[in-house]
């Protein structure tokens, strides 16, 4: 059974959801679209034979990180833009430059991918969680340690910055 179309469908979903993330005015809506996008990408991972990555994507990204976002938005009243983003009065001025820039970048990337295309197809096969685990705690041990430090630093920094200093807010 050829289920290639499933992959392309998931990719399309991710793409559309991402566009909605970028353009929507409401923060909660955007976050929900981001969840959709992430889940679609997780599905792509699964189809590409990386179930472990797909699982992590769902649990950590869509689960943990996005929940962090939602909590932050809700608890600290982080407003989105109040008016529609895409067709506001100066939308041309806002979007024209980035669009041109990004289109150039996209065309360049596409050109490189097309001209440098090897005709290699992804073989059917699964890179299991076990393989990943062995590699992770073998050759990549140092990277894991560094990542753990990064997380620790993120934790400390997050705590420090978000801590509300009641006396004397310095600008």
């Amino acid at each position: 059974m050829n289920i290639d179309w499933v992959f392309y469908f998931a990719a399309l979903v991710a793409f559309i959801a991402s566009i909605k993330v970028v353009t929507s005015a409401n923060a909660i809506h955007a976050l929900l679209y981001l969840v959709v996008s992430l889940l679609a990408v997780a599905f792509c991972f699964y189809l590409l034979g990386a179930p472990f990555a797909a699982g992590l994507e769902v649990i950590v990204y869509a689960g943990a990180i996005l929940v962090l976002f939602v909590f932050a938005v809700m608890m600290f009243d982080l407003q989105g833009d109040n008016q529609p983003v895409l067709f506001q009065q100066s939308w041309l001025a806002t979007w024209f430059g980035p669009l041109i820039l990004t289109l150039t970048l996209a065309m360049l990337l596409a050109y490189i991918l097309v001209t440098g295309a090897t005709d290699s197809h992804i073989e059917v096969g699964v890179v299991s969680a076990k393989q990943v685990g062995i590699a992770l705690y073998g050759p990549y041990l140092l990277a894991v340690e560094i990542a753990s430090f990064l997380l620790l630093a993120g934790l400390l920094a997050g705590y420090h910055f978000a801590k509300s200093t009641s006396e004397g807010e310095h600008r």
Binding site: G97, T104, L105, L108, L109, Y111, I112
Partner: protein
């Protein structure tokens, strides 16, 4: 230490005492110090001249007396020494400088008595005498240059003595700078002379001219440059413009500058370097032309002056012109004799003019005087004696020397009858302006606003009387100058027999002409100086000042002020401006906007990818 080494230093000592104790000295003490300084010099010079005369009587050689003090500095192998040299030429000079200078000092003591800076004034006068003595006694040209510059500086100080008047300060500066132009030419002459002869000792240079004379080109340049120096100091064309303005100084200063010191320096220099000039007959001719033109132009300018001192100033220029003409035409002895007699009668004229000015409350305009003969008879007679000597009235000292010059002109090798005629014309003009001065000042009615207060201090009158005696009899003082100068061979041309009588007669005719023209004006109640553009033109010194001002002074000042902020600095500023521009450009990129940074990141990526692709 002999008298010769001490001679210039007596006035220096008195200068030092006066300047150190300046205001702590009262008038009597300061006068005694100042007069004794110059007086000792005068005594010493009398002694020295006596000795020199005795030496020259006993032996045939004309060598002078030389006293060396110390080696000043070395120019390669040549020692420039601080050394003094006395021969009949410098003997005449020191006698004039110290003698006339002394009398002027005496007069000045009375004249400046009321001035609060009296002792400073006398100190400058002493320094002036000292510098002039060094100039005339110098054994080498560098020491002469020291005196030369010293005289210039002292004249600056004295002309600008009443420095609070801006006009005086400007006149002082003008005198200094104009003569400085001449000084620079003289210095260049010294450089050239050293290059050619490898010595700057005057006697060595002159001795070399006998054995190995200068090449004609070198002699031409050197003589020209030395003439430039002489022209500057002696106020001859074209550097004469400072002299009339120098009348801004107190009157004794004018007397000192004109009679005893400074302006005679140029004449002395040319007489001293006669050996060099003989190698450059063209320049000798130029000297004569300079002298003759100056005497005419100065005479014409003197005809139109209204300030008594300016008339005398132009007459000085004119008389120095005679000396130059004499030197250029080979009448050296007569020229130096004229220098001496001129010192006598010009000092007399200036000092009597000073006495008049003092009596008339510093009124110097002759059209505001008049009738002084009746009110100040003694001074007036003394003044007329000076005038008589000035116009070479037969029997006076001026007659002796000036007729000697004019008499040699016709036959001289360089000059021809043209010079003779110019000199005669000059004598005519001299008479004319002299008696214009006499008639307007001394005859008719007194026209001043203030009552006259003639001073009768003995220090005022004694010098005047002594100078009057000298002005009459000074021409007969033996000078013994013949042995100094190389005799110029006169071509054996016959001069017409009428020459002498014309030369004597013409000034007397001029008196009559002056009587006809000016005497009626003197009697008028409101005499007018004169009108017309010609009169104004000659009153302004024939436009030399205006020409120099427009051609040299103003462009120079304008140019200097234009570049006041230093164009080169702009180039340097350009570099820093460049740095600032790039700095602000780089700063503009660093705007602090996060999204802009992200965009540049994107642009950078694009460029990078393009680079990978290509």
């Amino acid at each position: 230490m002999t008298a010769l080494t001490l001679l210039p230093f007596f006035p220096l000592f008195s200068f030092l005492i006066l300047i150190i104790f300046s205001k702590r000295l009262n008038w009597q003490l300061a006068t005694v110090i100042a007069l004794s300084g110059v007086g000792l010099s005068f005594l010493a010079s009398v002694l020295l001249i006596n000795d020199l005369y005795a030496v020259s009587q006993s032996s045939d050689i004309s060598a002078g007396v030389r006293e060396s003090l110390w080696t000043w500095f070395m120019l390669g192998e040549h020692e420039v020494q601080v050394a003094f040299f006395l021969d009949p030429l410098s003997a005449v000079m020191i006698a004039v400088v110290t003698g006339v200078g002394w009398l002027i000092h005496g007069f000045a003591a009375a004249y400046m008595r009321e001035d609060e800076n009296y002792s400073r004034f006398m100190a400058y006068m002493n320094l002036f005498i000292c510098a002039m003595l060094i100039l005339v006694l110098a054994d080498n040209l560098v020491l002469l240059y020291l005196g030369w510059e010293g005289v210039g500086l002292c004249s600056f100080l004295l002309i600008g003595f009443w420095y609070q008047e801006p006009g005086n300060a400007i006149a002082a500066r003008k005198a200094f700078i104009v003569t400085r132009i001449g000084d620079t030419l003289l210095a260049l002459g010294l450089f050239y002379l050293f290059l050619e002869t490898n010595t700057l000792n005057i006697q060595e240079i002159l001795a070399q001219q006998d054995s190995s004379p200068l090449s004609s080109e070198a002699a031409w340049w050197i003589a020209l440059l030395l003439l430039g120096g002489a022209v500057g100091k002696s106020a001859q064309l074209p550097l004469h413009t400072w002299l009339p303005d120098a009348m801004a100084g107190p009157t004794p200063v004018s007397a000192l500058i004109h009679a005893a010191t400074m302006v005679t320096a140029g004449v002395y220099l040319i007489a001293r370097m006669q050996g060099v000039y003989l190698q450059a007959p063209d320049i000798l001719n130029l000297v004569a032309w300079t002298g003759s033109l100056t005497l005419l132009i100065a005479g014409i300018a003197a005809l139109a002056q209204e300030d008594i001192k300016r008339v005398l100033a132009y007459s000085t220029m004119s008389q120095i012109g005679y000396m130059m003409l004499g030197l250029g035409a080979g009448a050296n002895v007569a020229a130096i004799t004229h220098l001496m007699t001129h010192a006598f009668f010009k000092a007399l004229l200036f000092l009597t003019a000073g006495a008049i000015i003092l009596a008339a409350h510093h009124q110097q305009n002759i059209f505001h005087m008049g009738g002084l003969l009746k009110r100040m008879p003694l001074i007036s007679i003394l003044f007329v004696i000076g005038i008589a000597a000035l116009i070479a009235f037969p029997g006076t000292s001026g007659f002796v020397s000036k007729e000697a010059i004019i008499g040699q002109l016709w036959q001289s090798p360089t000059a021809g009858p043209a010079f003779w005629w110019m000199a005669i014309l000059g004598a005519f003009i001299t008479s004319l302006y002299s008696f214009r001065l006499v008639f307007i000042t001394f005859f008719g009615q007194y026209r001043g606003q203030h009552e006259l207060h003639p001073q009768r201090h003995f220090l005022l009158l004694v010098p005047l009387c002594m100078l009057a005696v000298l002005a009459i009899l000074g021409g007969y003082i033996p000078t013994n100058l013949e042995q100094v100068f190389v005799a110029v061979d006169a071509p054996d041309s016959q001069s017409p027999s009428w020459l002498h009588s014309v030369a004597i007669g013409l000034p007397l005719v001029a008196i009559v002409v002056a009587y006809v023209i000016y005497f009626p004006r003197a009697n008028a109640t409101e005499p007018v100086p004169g009108k017309g553009s010609l009169y104004r033109f000659s009153r302004n010194g024939l436009g030399f000042d205006a020409t120099y001002d427009a051609l040299l002074v103003k462009p120079f000042v304008k140019l200097a002020k234009l570049n006041r902020h230093d164009a080169i600095d702009l180039l340097v500023q350009l570099i820093s401006w460049n740095a600032f521009t790039w700095n602000s450009a780089a700063k503009a990129i660093q705007s602090g906007r996060l999204r802009w940074y992200a965009a540049t990141l994107g642009i950078g990526t694009i460029i990078l990818l393009l680079g990978v692709m290509l």
